[in-house]
């Protein structure tokens, strides 16, 4: 978390942020479902300047066998950043940050994915960040849900991701990289929009109890907006071009 000195004006007197947004506005989000040939399901998401490619394989056999569970399928997630995705080139080997984010995203998806339908198998979710600009875990989670639906993995609900935060003493929605570096708090949220449950929640920074409430509220609002884009991605792939039957 930043709080770094910056020349950039995070919030001007008209309530406009450094990239022209208002405090409760998310960046532009576009999602395309079914973009890879080999993966069982896939999605490509652009969330502001974040560009993330997600591929899903499964349900499939588990190797080594002892890792499988006779009662339920297992979910495995890998969040990984390409070396060219960030300002200073990143070593391709997984960092501790990537390991943690992989776990947090897995636990955000598990409540939604109906793993008990596939005992003894695994569902693998691979999220590749090709370009990063703050809020990658929320964007990756958002893309992962679409890729899982594209693969036909049964889910109780989709999971949408969006971060709330605080910069220049104001509560803001969808923190970008600059705001993350120089701002005061970053609260990534993962949310199941129909079941109305939060499945990913982290905080980096300092919030008063009132600000915390506001962040959750505005964050859920952001997730609901992102959910509409997820819906559209699936509709565009499966329901477009002519009514079936």
């Amino acid at each position: 978390m930043g709080g770094r000195d910056t020349d950039i004006v995070l919030l001007d007197e008209n309530g406009i942020r450094s990239d022209g947004r208002k405090v409760n506005e998310t960046r532009k989000v576009t999602i395309k479902a079914g973009v890879l040939k080999n993966a069982n399901g896939s999605a490509y998401i652009e969330f502001g300047d974040n560009k993330i490619l997600v591929g899903v394989y499964g349900p499939r056999d588990v190797h080594p066998k002892h890792m499988s569970d006779t009662d339920t399928g297992i979910l495995r997630c890998r969040y990984h950043m390409a070396p060219f995705s960030v300002g200073e080139r990143k070593n391709p080997a997984p960092s501790r940050r990537e390991v943690e984010i992989s776990k947090v995203i897995k636990e955000a998806l598990e409540p939604a994915v109906m793993l008990k339908e596939f005992p003894r198998t695994a569902v693998d979710v691979y999220m590749e960040v090709l370009q990063a600009d703050g809020g990658t875990r929320c964007a990756a989670l958002t893309g992962a849900s679409v890729a899982l639906a594209d693969a036909g993995i049964p889910m109780r609900d989709l999971v949408a991701g969006c971060a709330a935060g605080k910069a220049a003493d104001a509560v803001i929605l969808d923190v970008n990289n600059e705001e993350d570096q120089a701002g005061q708090a970053d609260l990534p949220i993962g949310y199941m929009p129909n079941l109305k449950k939060i499945t990913l929640l982290q905080l980096d920074g300092v919030l008063t109890p009132e600000e915390y409430k506001q962040c959750i509220e505005i964050g859920i609002e952001g997730c609901n907006q992102v959910y509409e884009i997820q819906k559209k991605a699936l509709q565009d792939k499966f329901f477009a071009s002519g009514e079936k039957q």
Binding site: N38, D49, P83, F84, E88, R89, P92, E128, L130
Partner: protein
């Protein structure tokens, strides 16, 4: 990613029978590569990038440029390092974890093809001799695997480096400082292009698909430069090539390579 893809005997015989009639499974000629499309600038924040689609194989290459300390024995040259990895999204058998020998080979062959060609004049990428030079990193990420990753990575790398922008650096107080908003054109001397050929039942096939790769007896990847000279070679697989075959392969690689070079040039 295992090199030993299991293709059943039935399929192998089918492919061989077709080859004896002069046909390939996807209808291509023996010396015909698949359709190649190249899009540059797909990762705008990187200093250079390109996505290469060779048939259904897809690779994204990103170029990062940053100041580095030079290697001890080449203080008068900048640094150029190419890598490659097969992302687990690319194929059901692609693994995570430390790279297996086939992936290490892919990365090193890609690197040699670009470096040995002298594509970038490294002498022009020095900030202060023996102290500070410009490091150019070209990292390839395979996102979809349908065979012939050697060539897909070669084309993505060449296109990405060819279209990259090198930020301007100045030495201030013994340290390299980036001058925001100013760039220099990369010192490109040539465009290396690799062509990979598989040998199956005595037939030489350009740009094998993953099926052809799985049953081939041997393969060779030959990289040529803009002058039609051969700059890098790698033979793989468990069978051998005759002298005549090797000469034919080199000719094919220059011929096919020059057409691919045009596509890369057009992409900029």
């Amino acid at each position: 990613m295992s090199d030993g893809l299991i293709i059943d005997q039935l399929k192998k015989n089918q492919i061989l029978d077709l080859l004896k009639e002069g046909k390939r499974v996807d209808g291509r000629q023996f010396d015909e590569p698949r359709k190649l499309t190249i899009d540059i600038g797909v990762i705008p924040k990187a200093e250079g990038s390109a996505r290469a689609r060779l048939g259904d194989t897809e690779v994204v290459a990103g170029v990062k440029v940053q100041p580095e300390r030079p290697f001890p024995d080449t203080g008068d040259k900048g640094m150029l390092i190419c890598t490659a990895e097969i992302l687990p999204i690319a194929h059901p058998s692609a693994e995570t974890g430390p790279p297996q020998p086939p992936v290490v080979e892919l990365a090193r062959v890609t690197d040699r093809g670009i470096r040995e060609s002298g594509m970038l004049d490294m002498k022009q990428l020095v900030l202060e001799k023996d102290k500070s030079v410009i490091g150019v990193f070209c990292d390839n990420a395979v996102t979809d695997h349908d065979g012939n990753l050697f060539d897909a990575c070669s084309y993505a790398s060449t296109a990405a480096i060819n279209s990259c922008k090198i930020p301007k650096y100045e030495m201030q107080d013994e340290k390299p400082v980036k001058i925001e908003g100013e760039f220099i054109e990369p010192p490109i001397t040539t465009l290396p292009v690799s062509v990979t050929m598989a040998k199956i039942g005595g037939f030489i096939l350009v740009d094998p698909t993953i099926e052809e790769w799985g049953i081939m007896d041997a393969r060779i990847t030959i990289t040529s430069n803009s002058d039609g000279n051969v700059v890098a070679l790698q033979k793989g697989g468990s069978d051998g090539f005759t002298q005549e075959e090797l000469i034919k392969c080199a000719e094919l690689s220059v011929k096919v390579g020059s057409k691919i070079r045009e596509i890369i040039k057009q992409s900029k």
